[in-house]
């Protein structure tokens, strides 16, 4: 008698049972929903690339800067095809690559300052030795 009191609930959707309907809905929610575009990651990647360009990474870490730009282009393309999670991951990779370009630039600058100082020291010593030779 209980099954006859509400027949539309147990066999309402094409004759499938209730648990199957719920499972399909859950799967659709998990696998097939369209998440929002990864705006924050894209902005972070653009900012990091801009910072690296300002620090002259194009001169000191050109390969890393180029890869960061390529990753950002890929991320934008993925978002355009509504592959939001792939786009978010590519944007994150772009940001980290730009951070690496920044670090390499700082390292190269520090190395060139040290080289310059060492050259200057050598020049002082050489000048002193030349003076000592000229007026013993």
């Amino acid at each position: 008698m209980r099954s006859h009191t509400n027949p539309s609930l147990s066999r309402g959707l094409g004759g499938l049972p209730t648990c199957a309907v719920l499972a399909i809905l859950a799967v659709l929610a998990a696998c097939a929903s369209t998440p929002p575009p990864p705006t924050a990651q894209l902005t972070a990647a653009r900012t990091a690339i801009g910072d690296a360009e300002k620090a002259d990474a194009g001169r000191y870490a050109a390969p890393e800067l180029t890869e960061a730009r390529n990753k950002l282009t890929d991320a934008n393309a993925a978002v355009g095809q509504e592959h939001m999670e792939t786009g978010g991951r590519l944007a994150e990779q772009s940001r980290v690559e730009a951070d690496l370009a920044m670090s390499k630039t700082a390292e190269a600058k520090a190395a060139s300052v040290n080289d310059e100082m060492l050259r200057s020291n050598a020049a002082i010593v050489e000048e002193m030795q030349r003076k000592a030779g000229a007026q013993p």
């Binding site: 799967v27 300052v113 040290n114 020291n121």
Partner: protein, 457 residues
């Protein structure tokens, strides 16, 4: 029963759907490719003693990312992305650690630089002391030359005494001529000739004294010339001695000829009266010769006085050399081929400013005092800047700074024709432009005081 026969096929359908869903969404977990390599790279970084502790924050982030990368993922794309991120974060940690390592090395390099500069300054002081010693040696040389000049004056005195003795000989010869009337005319002529020779010799003595005076003046300028002129004086004194000896020999010849003439007394007797008058004249000539000898003595005394003056001039030169050294020491002047270079205070100008700071005014006043004391020196002013701003702007700024110093020196009373000024811009830094301390040192004005012209010494 009816219910159960309907529910069994339904449950089978539900199970099949669920299995389909799991096979679509949840394939078997994928072991992340490359996670092992990233872990190895991180371990290498952590075991490098130079880098392990230098970027702790970045290293912590890299460790977290590697841990995430090692988690097995069902989705290959997520796994690859995690490994990629971990790899780059390890690279970032390594790069930051290297940067910090380079910065730490810089302290050591700066210490080496300071030591090199100290050595350089010490070396310059040693060179300065060496020059002072050379100056002392030159003074000692000049003292020796003064003593030589004194000896020459003594020789001139002796030569004057000889002249007096020769004048006495001429007197005697004149007396002989008076006694012997017959030969008197001849003998008087001879006496006159001898007196002339004596006068010549006195004149030579005077010339010797003049040469000594000349040499006393010359050796202050040039030691070699002084010695040469002293040698010349000595040679001339020897010549004067020789001519005095010749005069004595001539007097002997005259006496001989007077003895010969005695035999011919008869011939001369008629002119005896005339001869007596001429003998009087010869007496007068002898007196003149005596007076000439006195003049020669006076000139020898003058030579001695001049030698004293030369001594005094040498002492003044010594004092002025010490004064010069003292003034240069006060200015921390640095000797170069072009002259003494004075770098006016590292803190003389602010950034982009051409006005003088009050801290450099005492140094500039010393430069003014120095230039007033030594009016034969000229001065070249060169302005320099750091590398902030465009090179055109810096060139103009350095010109304005050099001109500021020129105007200050001119207001202090230095003739503007003795000053040249030029701007050199940022082209010749003396220190590293990366630090503010280095840039401060590069903002400077160098004042080069010309070496003393050779003619003024």
């Amino acid at each position: 029963m009816n219910v159960t026969t309907h529910t069994l096929p339904n449950r089978l359908v539900a199970l099949a759907v669920a299995a389909l869903i799991f096979s679509a969404c949840a394939t078997a977990p994928v072991k992340p490719d490359g996670a092992v390599e990233v872990r190895a790279k991180l371990t290498r970084l952590e075991s490098n003693p130079d880098l392990a502790t230098r970027a702790p924050d970045a290293l912590k982030e890299a460790e977290a990312a590697v841990a995430v990368a090692e988690i097995p993922q069902t989705d290959r794309e997520i796994a690859t992305s995690n490994v990629y991120l971990a790899d780059r974060k390890v690279d970032i940690a390594a790069s930051r650690a290297k940067t910090k390592f380079l910065e730490d090395q810089r302290t050591m390099i700066a210490q080496q630089r300071d030591k090199a500069r100290l050595d350089q300054r010490t070396r310059e002081v040693e060179i300065g002391n060496g020059r002072l010693a050379v100056a002392h040696d030159q003074l000692a040389d000049k003292d020796l030359q003064v003593q030589v000049a004194r000896a020459q004056v003594g020789a001139a005195n002796a030569s004057a005494a000889n002249s007096q003795a020769e004048a006495g000989a001429a007197n005697l010869s004149a007396a002989n001529a008076q006694a012997d009337a017959g030969v008197a005319r001849q003998s008087a002529a001879n006496s006159q000739a001898e007196a002339g020779i004596a006068r010549q010799s006195a004149a030579n003595s005077q010339a010797d004294a003049g040469a000594a005076r000349q040499s006393a003046a010359n050796f202050q300028a040039e030691a070699g010339v002084a010695r040469q002129s002293a040698a010349n004086s000595k040679a001339e004194a020897g010549a004067a001695n020789l001519s005095a000896a010749n005069a004595q020999a001539d007097a002997g010849v005259a006496r001989q000829s007077a003895a010969n003439s005695q035999a011919e007394a008869g011939v001369a007797r008629q002119s005896a009266a005339n001869s007596q008058a001429e003998a009087g004249a010869a007496n007068l000539t002898a007196a003149n010769a005596q007076a000439d000898a006195g003049v020669a003595r006076q000139s020898a005394a003058n030579s001695q006085a001049e030698a004293g003056a030369a001594n005094l001039a040498a002492a003044n030169y010594k004092a002025s050399a010490a004064d010069l050294q003292h003034q240069l020491d006060d200015l921390h002047a640095k000797p170069t081929d072009h002259g003494m270079v004075i770098t006016l205070g590292d803190v003389m100008f602010g950034s982009s400013k051409a006005e003088l700071r009050t801290s450099v005014v005492p140094n500039l006043d010393r430069v003014v005092a120095f230039l007033t004391r030594y009016p034969d020196r000229t001065v070249a002013i060169a302005g320099f800047t750091d590398n902030r701003g465009s090179s055109d702007y810096n060139l103009g700024l350095s010109e304005r700074r050099a001109n500021t110093v020129k105007v200050y020196l001119t207001q202090g009373g230095v003739d503007p024709r003795r000053i040249t000024s030029a701007g050199m811009g940022q082209s010749s830094p003396v220190a590293d432009n990366e630090s503010s301390e280095g840039r401060q040192q590069n903002r400077r004005v160098e004042v080069t005081i010309s070496n003393a012209p050779a003619a003024s010494r």
